[in-house]
Amino acid sequence: MAELVKQPKIGVFICHCGSNIAGVIDIPKLLEYTERLPHVVIATDYRFMCSDPGQGLIREKIREAGLNRVVVAACSPTLHETTFRRVLNSMGVNVYYFDMANIREHCSWVHSGEEDAALEKAKDLVRMAVARAAELEPLEQKESDVKPSVLVVGAGISGIQAALDVADAGYKVYLVEKEPSIGGHMAKLDKTFPTLDCSSCILTPKMSLVGQHPNIELLTCSEVQEVSGYVGNFTVKVERRPRYVIEDKCTACDDCVEVCPVNVPDEFNAGLSWRKAIYIPFAQAVPNAYVIDTEHCLGMTPIACGKCKEKCEPEAIDYEMESEILELEVGAIIVATGFELFDGRRVLEYGYGLYPDVTTNLEMERMLSAAGPTEGKIVRPSTLEKPKRIAYVQCVGSRSERYNPYCSRVCCMAALKQARQIREKYPDIEVTIFYIDLRAFGKGYEEFYESSARDYGVSFVRGRVSEIRHSFESDKLVVRAEDTLLAQPIEMEADMVVLSCGLEVFSDAEKLTRALGIQRSGDGFLLEAHPKLRPVDTNTDGIFICGAAQGPKDIPDSVAQAKGAAASALTMLSAGKVILQPYAAVVDEDLCAGCGCCEASCPYSAVNVVDNRAQVTEEACKGCGTCAAACPNNAISPQHFTIEQILAQLEALFQEAK
């Protein structure tokens, strides 16, 4: 029997992928060619190899021809390697006796005008895969336990929802938030489109649930520093910065705030009001405790100031508090780090930061809020009087070659919603929205737009605003644009302008993605494993993404995605086991000279020279193969990517040329 397995009997299955492959590559010719390759005992084709009948065909041929290795020439292994490995497994063939020739993504789709060249390339790719298949070795998959806990990074609406879902299922959640309170951007919103729910009313109950949930350990003022381990078994280092206020002792009496002599623009109110250097971020903050902003605090020594500590009766203020590093053990990680608002100052011609009456959508949101800096009144920042006309400028920073090419997806609806709120409160304020396209794509959105225009008299001008300037004669802002429907330039005077600033990825994305080993797409947002079929997975097993960190998103979509990410993490946790790929490096002790090149090259310190021989710590090795490239004797090699396997591919590629 062993003899039989050693003799490769390879079956090659060529997929048409409908017309995706067959429309470019001449399948009969490729098939005829493949049949003649060494070790190939059967070659056949089918319209969709990944479909049920396609998989059935592979099973049938394995049985009929006694295949012991399988090559599928189809799409990228990233997409369907797992699918086909399962077929082998069901037939009792070791799943590592499998290889794919990527004749779709790397061939038919990128050489569609060159049928002959594409056919030649496909032949090469199949020949290389067959040569590799002949060199493959059976490997044993390892199972590993999954730690029954999840780290959720970011506690806006997405992170909150994901944390609650995981915690409700009975698993431990560490919820890490860099700000002193959870809530994220949603906490700053007054009402949400298209239902005009009060944002706080739907968010704050969830926030307080998080604060009280027995399965959730909330870590505010905290950031992820380092991640090690692998799927099911991550170790995460989190830095918790000091609040300088002992949460348990603080009674939220506000005495400290009264004596604090420092005034700082309040971030929560988009800088429209002031807060002290010791403060609670907002009334419904969770945890509801003060925090000292050390950047602005006068110095926390009794000589410099120390007024808050002096005044605090429960002795809740502790200047000696220090940063601590917490080490968390988790099975899965959900990244929900959200977005940052595009900085309107970057568009110089709009004068934001120069003219006080040019504001942003977030500032308007705070103004509209009854709990905001103006208690819900709309005022011109320069005069504090009620404006007569407000102009909205859409797509600030979005859909622009100069800034971000993508659509930020929420600004159209947010502007419509605010415009409607303004008109509802003050029917005498005119609101005009300058837009490129109005995108009202969600459930109930188009209806909301229709009614805003019809029932609330919001007016619209189609055209990107080119400039905003201040007129000294009228003391108003002049908005200049091309009305593309009338095909003429227009100028409109307004008392106030609201910039619909778009969404950008969260500020320290680079640091976090590097710590996690996950990737970002061209727009800067986090990259999903597959845009359609694996929207909350990343390329790193066990790490999931959701919310606006993955791309601009409104609240319903963020919540839906958060629930998806939570469900994906829970699937792993409740299964309790994960399969690890057995790609760890192995050492040929006869060849090893103990030189230590491998030890020096290993990024994980997984190889050590002991008694003049390299030794691999299998749990620490990730199978990257850097050691193998460094070894002068070819004595160490990652499994499934051995020197023989790769050289076989190379040799096969040039066989034809000989």
Binding site: S76, P77, T78, N102, R104, E105, H106, C107, W109, V110, H111, S112, G113, E114, A117, A118, E120, K121, D124, L125, M128, E510, T513, R514, G517, Q519, R520, S521, G522, L527, N539, T540, Y583, S601, P603, Y604, K622, G623, C624, G625, T626, A628, A629, A630, N634, P638, F641, I643, I646, L647, Q649, L650, E651, L653, F654, A657
Partner: protein, 141 residues
């Protein structure tokens, strides 16, 4: 030989970034010259200098190694080691009377389908101007 020279290129691509970048070029239907054949490795750091030399000896006209951007390596530092090896290999190629430009290192992320296609175009053009691998003219095997 009268026909225009179509170089044969071997590309090693790490599965996390560059192989996925090549997939992205595919899903975006970006067209590029069909001269290269990709060999998938876990990390660009897996590319043993032997692979490069063997490819050139087998008369590859060019060898591309594509990996994650500096700092983005899925295996922390594999791509830095590749960068060092490529620098040394280029010196070695010079000593062998081969143009060092026949070996190229490129950083292509999983999202950079366009960059992958561009890299292919520019590398194929560069190799076309260099002409065929000198080993394929007077070589003995």
């Amino acid at each position: 030989m009268g026909k225009s020279f179509e170089p044969k290129i071997v590309a090693f691509a790490c599965r996390w970034c560059s192989y996925a970048g090549a997939d992205m070029a595919g899903t975006s239907r970006m067209q590029y010259p069909p001269n290269a054949r990709i060999i998938r490795v876990n990390c660009s750091g897996r590319v043993d200098p032997i692979f490069v030399l063997r490819a050139l000896k087998l008369k590859a006209d060019g060898v591309l190694i594509a990996g994650c951007h500096p700092g983005d390596c899925h295996y922390l530092t594999g791509n830095y080691q590749t960068a060092r090896r490529v620098a040394l290999l280029k010196e070695y190629l010079k000593a062998m009377n081969l143009e060092p430009e026949r070996l190229r290192l490129a950083y292509v992320s999983a999202a950079e389908g366009a960059k992958f296609a561009e890299t292919m175009k520019s590398f194929v053009n560069e190799i076309k101007t260099l002409g065929p691998n000198p080993l394929s003219n007077g070589g003995q095997d």
